[in-house]
């Protein structure tokens, strides 16, 4: 099985620990992981802001960067959703604009092999107990794109429930958006901040030591809001929890 890590530009630049955790986790489960250096950004920020044309080279790049691989695994619900939901749209629109089928074909090759991390673990590897150890109370926030676009449903929870030492705390209003929304946070700062503050209030209310998601971009917003409000709850990507073991605990 040839598996590539699509680390995403946000993780590459700001959260390398998450990428390292995915590598550690997958290798522990016997998966050989590759990291093609030609990879870049999925194009979601551009696409969602209205710059579809600026996204097109990134669709092509994704296709060529990963062409050698059977599976592309990414620790980001929204980047996986970008590939699965929007790449075909971008391809279809380019074709409709009379620019040929190449982009649509690139999208068609990328979609079936791209998996968000928890999907890959549960659906492809067929595991929920990954042998992880995380002796803390954790609350799980299902990010919107993971929840609604990818339909991750209870996969992340099933994985978390098997983690030794982890106590899962219910998050009230879990399915409500945290208010990040990419450029939304900058274009509508007041509403975004109000949504973030409400989310953080619910998170703090659980009394959990850590809040976990499948996406570092939402976590950056949630964590940034927590820090600004002086809360000590720690934002942790699910990959880092699943990668932690008794021998190599979460740092």
């Amino acid at each position: 099985m040839r598996v590539a890590l699509f680390v995403t530009c946000v993780n590459d630049t700001l959260y390398p620990h998450t990428g390292q955790a995915v590598v550690r986790l997958l290798e522990r489960l016997g998966v050989e992981v590759g990291f093609p250096q030609a990879q870049s950004c999925c194009g979601q920020p551009q696409f969602n802001t209205g710059y579809r044309h600026e996204t097109e080279p990134l669709v092509r790049r994704f296709d060529t960067a990963f062409q050698e691989y059977e599976y592309v695994v990414t620790p980001s619900g929204s980047c996986a959703a970008m590939v699965r939901d929007n790449y075909p749209r971008i391809g279809a629109r380019a074709a409709a604009e009379g620019r040929g089928q190449a982009l649509a074909e690139a999208a068609a090759r990328s979609v079936p092999k791209t998996y968000e991390l928890t999907e890959f673990l549960v659906d492809v590897l067929g595991v929920t107990d990954v042998g992880a150890y995380f002796p803390h109370s954790v609350t799980y926030h299902p990010t919107c794109h993971g929840l609604r676009m990818l339909g991750l449903r209870d996969r992340p929870r099933r994985l978390l429930e098997q983690v030794k030492g982890l106590e899962l705390r219910e998050l009230p209003g879990a399915e409500e958006c945290c208010g990040f929304g990419g450029t939304f946070a900058v274009k509508n700062p007041a509403v975004s901040a109000a949504m973030g503050a409400d989310k953080v209030r619910d998170i703090v209310g659980t009394g959990a030591e850590a809040v976990c998601t499948v996406d570092n971009s939402c976590l950056m917003h949630i964590g940034g809001t927590l820090a600004k409000l002086g809360c000590t709850v720690r934002p942790v990507h699910i990959a880092e929890i699943l990668a932690a073991t008794e021998e190599e605990p979460y740092a």
Binding site: V7, C9, N11, D12, T13, Y15, P16, G19, Q20, G34, Q37, A38, Q39, S40, C41, G43, P45, Q46, N48, T49, G50, Y51, R52, H53, E54, L58, R61, E68, A96, C144, H145, R148, M149, E175, E176, C177, G179, F180, G181, G182, T183, F184, A185, V186, N188, P189, A190, V191, S192, A193, A194, M195, G196, A197, M220, H221, G224, T225, A227, K228
Partner: protein, 494 residues
């Protein structure tokens, strides 16, 4: 649309004021959460909900594809049943037609210079009340929430519950202060008890129902095969307006047509559950032209385009015309909940408003150009929509129109529009980002530079980024990017 919305500020500005209003946020939070939970229960009762949703979507799509044919069929059926059909290309024409019809119905009798109204989005959209007032005709809103808005000289903030931004205490004050100048005053010692408030409204409205000679309505559906119009409501006030006056004038958007009664059946299941969380709404009024000795003896149907044909021309955007105005998308929207309906600068607030207004009115004004961005793209609206409108997809599509311009249909003509103002810097940044992201070597150089200088990064961002750092701490730049870590630890291995 209504002139009252001209010159609205862009969404972020209006929303900021709303976010700061604690009372408003409290009212909205309470109301939207109550109804969204109830809706979820009502929908969960139906095992075939997903199939009803797909059926609703398919029926609307099929109808919209052959809209011309169904509208002509409808016109023929309405005419055969004794009604008269008028076609209005825009708000101005629709208002002119209705004003003329009201005057014609009333003759010189001043008592007849007034109309009673059934709650209607279409007449709000065209600003009918203002147009009638300019001609000396008083239009009385008879829906309870619409009455509250009218008495309070306010604007509606929700499709179904236009006064959702008001709480009981505020409503009591409005009734006490304003009812007297519109007709029967509120009873002395009125409290904020809901039953008392409803009774005060009932007594106030009753004399208007009994006196008015002309009723004005919209319609939820029009059945092409028989020419039947359908209004669903909860209060029964609509039924009064639809049956008591001698003349009935209905202003209805052309997208409200459904081909057959069998098609209607689907929506009569999905609409009440989605909007009021009821299995069936209390009042469903249906009428076909006129009937001798029963109900209005004169019936006019004004078919309203007002940007709908232009919207239909857009392959991605046209799905907005499937909307049955249930308001489920408003009730689950985290942005609507905090920004309130007024910030959307239109009678159509919330997620549906954010995709409908910039299509019906174009993206020319400040508020219309900002609406496609009034969403975090969380997708909750799409999930609940009973006709499966992919609102996030349309939002992103309209964002492209705002930043890139391009070909659109306006008044039936293909025209090329320029990008909206204020996106030049962003556009340049996006182009630069594309270049860097498509050249991973350059990207890596940038990451290294940022890592090396991370100790001196400011804690607050300048310019538009300030909005981010004002309420959130910035993440710290790691010493080494993932890419470099991989290179260092795995060397040349792929």
């Amino acid at each position: 649309m209504s002139g009252t919305y001209l010159g609205m500020p862009a969404f972020p500005k209006a929303a900021q004021d709303a976010v700061r209003n604690e009372t408003l946020r409290g009212n909205l939070r309470h109301a939207t959460h109550t109804i969204r939970d109830k809706r979820a229960k009502a929908v969960a009762e139906l095992a075939d909900w997903d199939r009803l949703r797909t059926a609703g979507k398919d029926i609307k799509d099929r109808t919209l594809r052959h809209l011309d044919r169904y509208l002509l069929q409808l016109e023929e059926a309405v005419t055969a049943a004794g009604g008269t059909v008028h076609w209005a290309a825009d708000a101005e024409e629709a208002n002119r037609i209705v004003t003329y019809l009201v005057k014609a119905a009333g003759g010189s009798d001043s008592e007849q210079r007034e109309v009673v109204k059934v709650k209607s989005m279409a007449t709000q959209e065209i600003g009918l009340n203002v147009a009638l007032e300019a001609e000396g005709i008083a239009a009385y809103e008879t829906d309870l929430a619409e009455l509250i808005v009218q008495l309070g000289e306010d604007r509606p903030s929700h499709i179904l519950v236009p006064a959702i931004h008001r709480n009981r205490g505020e409503i009591r004050d409005i009734f006490e202060e304003k009812m007297g100048s519109w007709g029967r005053p509120a009873p002395a010692g009125l409290t904020d008890n809901p039953a008392e408030l409803a009774e005060a409204a009932r007594v106030h409205l009753r004399e208007k129902f009994l006196r008015a000679k002309v009723g004005v309505s919209g319609a939820n559906f029009m059945v092409a095969e028989t020419g039947t119009l359908v209004v669903v409501e909860s209060e029964g006030n609509g039924r009064m307006c639809l049956t008591l006056p001698e003349t009935l004038i209905s202003v209805v958007g052309i997208e409200k047509v459904v081909p057959t009664w069998q098609d209607l059946e689907v929506f009569l299941q999905t609409l009440p559950r989605s909007s009021t969380a009821e299995r069936m709404n209390p009042y469903t009024s249906m009428w076909t032209g006129t009937t001798d000795g029963d109900g209005p003896q004169t019936f006019h149907l004004v078919l309203l385009d007002n940007g709908r044909t232009d919207t239909l021309a857009d392959e991605v955007g046209r799905q907005a015309l499937r909307c049955i105005r249930c308001s489920a998308c408003l009730n689950v929207c985290p942005v609507y909940e905090r920004a309130g309906g007024h910030a959307y600068g239109s009678v159509y607030p919330g997620p549906i408003g954010a995709i409908l207004s910039p299509q019906l009115r174009g993206t020319g004004s400040e508020v219309d150009a900002s609406l496609p961005y009034a969403s975090s793209l969380c997708g909750a609206c799409y999930d609940v929509c009973p006709v499966a409108i992919d609102i996030p997809e349309v939002l992103v599509h309209l964002r492209e129109r705002v930043v890139e311009g391009g070909e659109v249909t306006r008044n039936g003509e293909r025209v090329t529009i320029k990008p909206a103002k204020g996106h030049a810097v962003e556009r340049a940044a996006m182009r630069a980002a594309r270049w860097a992201l498509d050249h991973p070597g350059a990207l890596r150089a940038g990451q290294r530079l940022a890592s090396r200088t991370r100790r001196i990064h400011p804690k607050r961002l300048p310019g538009p980024g300030r909005a981010w750092s004002d309420t959130r701490t910035l993440p710290e730049m790691p010493a080494e990017s993932f890419r470099d870590w991989w290179q260092r630890t795995r060397g040349g291995a792929q």
